[in-house]
């Protein structure tokens, strides 16, 4: 029986690859937008401007303090009541973007705060405008602390994108869920799903660890 199911599973393997592709697209879009907005918000947050600091702080706490499933339900069920019509995929991308923004904002703000104050003063007294200070002096140094957790955050986003299956986006987890109805071999089907996730996230985890080692060694030698 198991051999038969295994045969069936191989037959519908392309379906899994489609799911994997959807996972990659949804999480890539989420993390690209999340990185952009997260950087902007993180830079604003590190500036200690009261006008921005409060709303960003509340936003970050609310997103970090609630489960992603609840956020997805809010985006998918409640936004339409406020007149924002979304199909499942764009709701998924929006929810992932919001999640990514909140977490990346904290990472970026932390990285910028870790740059010694003297760097700010030196670049200010060299007559650079604040944008140039950030672009030429602060952010290149902050990247050293930002990059490893940022890649780690990408892994978390890819994994969180599995939750998107609850609103009917046919990505990898949803494919597994749909398959297990027809091929009642839960261990086999979800092992396959797990392996496919492993294939994307494990290299990223290794990259994050590698970056951490490489960049922190540089810091000691400073």
């Amino acid at each position: 029986m198991i051999a038969y199911y295994f045969q069936r599973l191989i037959e519908i393997f392309p379906f899994f690859l489609k799911g994997l592709w959807m996972t990659v697209i949804v999480s890539c879009l989420g993390l690209i937008f999340g990185t952009i907005f997260g950087f902007i918000m993180g830079v604003l947050r590190s500036q200690k401007i009261r006008l921005f600091n409060w709303p960003i702080g509340i936003f970050v706490s609310v997103i970090r303090g609630t489960p992603f499933v609840v956020q997805i339900f809010i985006v998918f069920f409640i936004f339409p009541e406020w007149g924002i019509q979304l199909n499942a995929i764009s709701a998924a991308v929006l929810a992932l973007t919001i999640l990514g923004t909140a977490f990346i904002c904290e990472i970026v703000a932390g990285g910028i705060k870790a740059v010694p104050k003297g760097q700010w003063e030196a670049s200010a007294s060299s007559g650079l405008s604040i944008v140039k200070q950030l672009r030429l002096v602060i952010i290149p140094q902050a990247l050293r602390t930002i990059l490893p957790p940022l890649v780690g955050q990408y892994v978390l986003l890819i994994k969180d994108s599995s939750v998107v299956s609850v609103i009917g986006v046919v990505e990898l987890t949803r494919v597994g869920w749909l398959t297990v109805v027809r091929i009642p071999e839960g261990l086999m089907v979800f092992s396959l799903v797990g392996i496919l996730y492993f294939v994307i996230s494990y290299p990223l985890i290794r990259l994050s660890n590698g970056l951490e080692k490489k960049l922190s060694v540089g810091q000691i030698s400073l």
């Binding site: 706490s61 609310v62 609840v70 956020q71 069920f77 839960g186 261990l187 492993f198």
Partner: protein
Amino acid sequence: MLEGFNFRIIWEYMPLFLEGLRNTFLISILSIFLALIVGVIACGGRLSRWKFLRGISIIYIESIRSTPLLVQIYFFYFGLPTLGIRIPEIQTGILALMLNSGAYIAEIVRAGITSVPNGQIEAGMSSGLNYFQRMRFIILPQAIGVTVPPLLGQAIVLVKDSALLSLISVMELTRCGQVLTSERFMPTEAFFTVAFLYLCIYFCLKYLADWSQKRLIFKETY
């Protein structure tokens, strides 16, 4: 935006929400304790001298860390019955949460133990302390201070992760929101209440984590 917000319905469903909150609480507390045990064992395996134990622990930790929790939950939910094991959903959920958090806790504990400088261990050895004495008097007192704040962070993650159990119909907080949505079609009331209750838990744990960060981490005095 929220002019039609119906507090009466929330009040009416309050007993349900409180029951959900209680279940979320119980599930999280039970899982974190079990995960602590699993984590310490896995960490022991990870640091052990035997290649076999080390190999198994590494496979366990890495495979958990690079697959989404939802896939793990489905793996047990659909997989255990095919092995002939039938347990209630809530136990399946706790099993999945326990194994998931256990892997992360193993890494946290390992980071804590390896954060103790080698010189300390060598000093302990040359003072004639045996392995258990070194653990008891030198390594653990220093490691625990470093470990507790990230453990509380993991507890926060676990409370949020327990929301995913709603997808295998465990009656916890998020599930209550889904019930209210399907019975009365009031997603706004339902999910904002759920989010609010999660935020309450989050802020309590966050306060604890910040406090422990301040109190427990040894300041470098030299």
